[in-house]
Symmetry: C2
Subunit: 322 residues, 2 copies
Amino acid sequence: MPVTIRDVARASGVHVSTVSRAFSAPHLVNPDTRSRVLAVAEGLGYRPNRAARALTTGRTHNFGIIVADIANPFFPPLIKAAQAHARSRDYNVFVADTDEDPQVEEEVIQTLSKQVDGVLLCSPRLTNKAIERLREEVPFVVVNRRIRGMPTVLMDVGQGASLAVRHLTELGHRRIALVSGPAGSWTSKAMHEAVATAGADAVFLGPNAPTEQGGITAAADVIASRVTGVLAYNDLVAIGLIEGLSERGVRVPEDVSVIGVDDIVAGRLNRPKLTTVSMPAAAAGRVAVDMLLQAVDDVAAATVTTLETSLVVRESTGRART
Amino acid sequence: MPVTIRDVARASGVHVSTVSRAFSAPHLVNPDTRSRVLAVAEGLGYRPNRAARALTTGRTHNFGIIVADIANPFFPPLIKAAQAHARSRDYNVFVADTDEDPQVEEEVIQTLSKQVDGVLLCSPRLTNKAIERLREEVPFVVVNRRIRGMPTVLMDVGQGASLAVRHLTELGHRRIALVSGPAGSWTSKAMHEAVATAGADAVFLGPNAPTEQGGITAAADVIASRVTGVLAYNDLVAIGLIEGLSERGVRVPEDVSVIGVDDIVAGRLNRPKLTTVSMPAAAAGRVAVDMLLQAVDDVAAATVTTLETSLVVRESTGRART
DNA sequence: GTGAAAGCGCTAACAG
DNA sequence: CTGTTAGCGCTTTCAC
């Protein structure tokens, strides 16, 4: 049987409330009593039951992180950073994978709602309306999607796309393509806009599946469009594209330069090493947790934090053929 | 203010215990009353508070998954499968990343212990002794490490290593190397043993860091050892090794064949595509959850489940030079 | 500075 | 079948 506060109280000859205070309100208890209680607790191997504490305090000291797909290499670094940061603030985290299914997302939020003080919603698939509604049940911080009036952490893909286009034009590329992602995607839209206003001669290819296969498939269109520089929706698409091009005898970067987005591990390991727009995923995780912590106390806050992206130049880009 | 069981009781004109039963013991309540209560609950947006329920039932309906490093591409598929399976059994999961630190591992287990019914310990870094001790506080299932008397899920790397060696000898390789991992690693030991008994002329190179850099560094030794076939500790090492070899003008698979272990995404994307021992990570996640579910009810069980691995032949292996 | 008592949301005997 | 009554482990007034 697990040891409770009552066992500690008995063993140290004080009342339970004193034990409780020894842990959660040290200044209200005599230093001597406190250290004695703590010693006894230690000896008994006492661990406060956080769930029971939550019942009276209203603070669970838990967060939820909800992602569309844990296996998507973009998320683990974000989760890792968020979890570590939460831990440093004495919070534990639930992680739930919705498998890209809005319905599952909603259910997960609901089962979690009473067990957490807040939820990190990463790239949610739910409608804005649904999210607004669920917000009544539990505080959110949204990552990677813009929803009016909600605390949000954004990674500035638009700015990243501009960086990428600038890099290509500096290398002498005159005609470039954006190999975009799924139809409704917020990210696709932001990239499209950035590329369109970057002042290059741009063609837009898509929609494509946000996967390696999507990239492979897009290779034919890229060749047909006779561009020399490409910005892909993400690294997976970029890697697939490079593969598709190479199958058709087009070399990267000698014939065509390719830039990805995300900076996943695989891109660094791939040949040629992928030039990519690096997303500050770890920073996003930390910031999101900070905002959540804040949202928990201060319902009013609804900030938007936009994190800068950066371009990592590796081997998949080079001077344009002349 | 969140809606509680009491609000539902009041609104539907029954006692709280009836509402409680309507949810957790349907057969004990009149069908009509039940459906009325459920309707009212639905209307009010009532969600049972699982933490409060846990206080009386002793079942939290939560699991913990503790991993050394979420960002290690080996874990996400395991976590994803475990989480999905747990969800299907109406369990939520905490995920904690220990950053390879035994001390953190212990702390995490302790803060989680009262909030979960059991913990999945993946590739733990703690000593056997420490784990035995913590076992008093919460049931474990250990994944990827053999600990006597504990429910364990193993992926048979030894058998995978045998498969790999057989594949190499079938391709005509006479002299092969095992580029092993960190010194104390259980996996390294199992691979070593399997390779040693596989009946080939084998050389053992290591220890090495279990990373791409470890592989790059090992390239010189591999060349010096004049082998034509290599089994690497894992895919990261294999990919690094291929890179290191190529920097030194040794081509894969033309000059040397390389096999990895894990079947991470990056290996499939890499050039040449990596031949590798595929670990049944998703299956391991599911099985582990099943065992945990069982361990929660039946303290006695201490089964070991060993999952078969398989060899995925891609492009990094070929016939030996003659 | 410490004890007593009430109560968080819920379930589990026990009556009726 | 449903209401009553205890409590789960902990915190928090309120007294002393």
